[in-house]
Symmetry: C2
Subunit: 319 residues, 2 copies
């Protein structure tokens, strides 16, 4: 039978690394921190029926549990180093574990992320990852730091994950004649914007991971920075499938407050616009300006005619 | 209503610390690691109906979720620095949150542990803590390192938590005439042996947190060290309530394999015996030798007459 130790050895333990005491003791001991660096850390839990539905594949879950945490490091401009993985699973299924670990390692290996420890227990399906990375001592991104007149940018496209989810949940009510299947990759395999975060250090004045929906997360950034913003809905990027529907109120809500996007929202002095477009080109990742920081202490999102868009601002509620 | 942000601000956010970016951004940024130190990290999840029963108080849960993680740091000889707290709770109850945070902070403050981040979501009750601490570069405790002829020691007393639990679950079958109520503190408020772990660095040759039961955890230590052990059951310390029953087979199993003890098991060259007893006296924490490391590659536990004790070795199974 697969007990905890066999599972860890088979699916999660990898070659030991010089200078690191990883899986197999009471705790992991990391190598000495490089001088001038600081450790950045974040944790996120994915719970079945809250963050994902029971029909999600184990591979996607292994990917996403790691991705959502790496996305938090990306928003700080950090280089990921290692993670801890705490799994609560209702039963042991070798196939499921193989798929889960495939999804996990496929992403972890892309960023040379080490798995240094964790925990495994039985119970209602839930995955907690704690990610750790490094930044230069005084050079990292934070939510605070946005200045009046800064441009507001977002990477990638928004609303895709939320659209795929709504369509899956209620196909008959949510644009029954649309094909949103291509958008499922945004829901199941989000890409943490690690490289972008790294390159924005010293360029962006503030940054945030837009996982709770653009409107809600930009408000967090504004509050931390003590400023306001004017955002042009028509500039907010989305995939073709949503773009043709973008004037519909339901689609507006998905793009502006749908959540689960794992893109970066960031601000920068206009003098950096060309540099950001260069970074965007280098990474083959779209970055577009969607508005301006204002001194008004509030977020105003307007449509093409300048009219304010009122939103149901619940965003992507996990709580 | 109490949303995630209000809950965090009210119950979990404390005064900011110089040089630390804590709760409120996408991730925490720790101060630069002191030169010559290494970061030690561990994570543990407590799941309702697996690690604790629904009638456990929120105060005890707040304490224990932190304690079991600090205990892992203690087993490495680490000084705790900070933790991340991921809570999955079925509903928001201000009273419950107040109690939980009271239990959490009461222990955290004892060791000046900072809460630097976390996550809060709705779902089946489950708490994951990730703890971080520091050790000197090459001076920490590990499971490997035990040598033949070393003494085997344990701190505190064993079996108390398991006895309290069994008695609570099936009072009519498990020593109905005994009063184990004093032992409930071992179940609900375990004390991580931080100070002991710190003082054992440079003295103990190996150490482990005995949370899965003495027999199981000593085996982990033996395997990591490539040695065997002879343990004298009569030397294994337990509380008075169990001591008067210690020849009973059910009590033997509790003391040797009950689990949930959060004491330290460690080995040391016999030349350190006096020093360990001095540490024990200084800390007002009993430490007793219970056996010897052997070259036999197996664990043998014997009773007073030298007869081998055969155990149901499932220990404290969370999985």
């Amino acid at each position: 039978m697969l007990d905890e130790f066999r599972i860890i050895n088979k699916y999660f333990k990898r070659e030991p690394k010089e200078g690191l005491l990883g899986i197999g003791d009471d705790a992991a001991v990391l190598p000495e921190c490089p001088p001038g660096k600081r450790l950045v850390t974040s944790t996120d839990t994915l719970v079945e029926n809250v963050h994902f539905s029971p029909d999600v594949t184990a591979k996607s879950l292994g990917h996403k549990a790691l991705a959502v945490n790496l996305s938090d490091l990306a928003a700080m401009g950090a280089l990921p180093y290692c993670v801890l993985l705490s799994m609560t699973i209702p039963s042991v299924n070798a196939d499921w574990l193989q798929q889960f670990s495939d999804g996990f390692w496929s992403l972890a290996n892309r960023y040379s992320v080490l798995l240094v420890g964790g925990d495994m227990t039985r119970g209602p399906l839930s995955i907690t990852v704690t990610a750790m990375g490094y930044v230069e001592k005084d050079s990292f991104l934070a939510r605070s730091g946005a200045n009046v007149e800064d441009d507001i940018w977002v990477s990638g496209s928004l609303g895709g994950a939320a659209a795929a989810l709504r369509h899956k949940i209620s196909k008959d009510k949510f644009y029954p004649n649309s094909d949103f299947s291509r958008l499922e990759k945004f829901l199941n395999y989000p890409n943490p914007r690690i490289e972008l975060g790294r390159k924005l250090v010293g360029v962006a004045s503030s940054a945030i991971d837009i996982s709770d929906g653009l409107s809600k997360d930009i408000k967090h950034l504004l509050k931390a920075s003590g400023v306001g913003a004017l955002v042009n809905y028509s500039s907010v990027p989305c995939e073709t499938e949503l773009n043709i529907l973008r004037s519909d109120v339901k689609v507006k809500a998905l793009i502006l407050a749908g959540g689960d996007d794992y893109e970066l929202g960031f601000t920068a002095n206009p003098k950096y616009a060309a540099e950001i477009l260069e970074i965007s080109k280098d990474l083959n990742l779209s970055c577009v300006p969607i508005g301006k920081i204002t001194g008004e202490q509030s977020l105003k999102i307007v449509d093409e005619s300048g009219e304010k868009i009122e939103l149901d601002e619940s965003g992507y509620e996990h709580f």
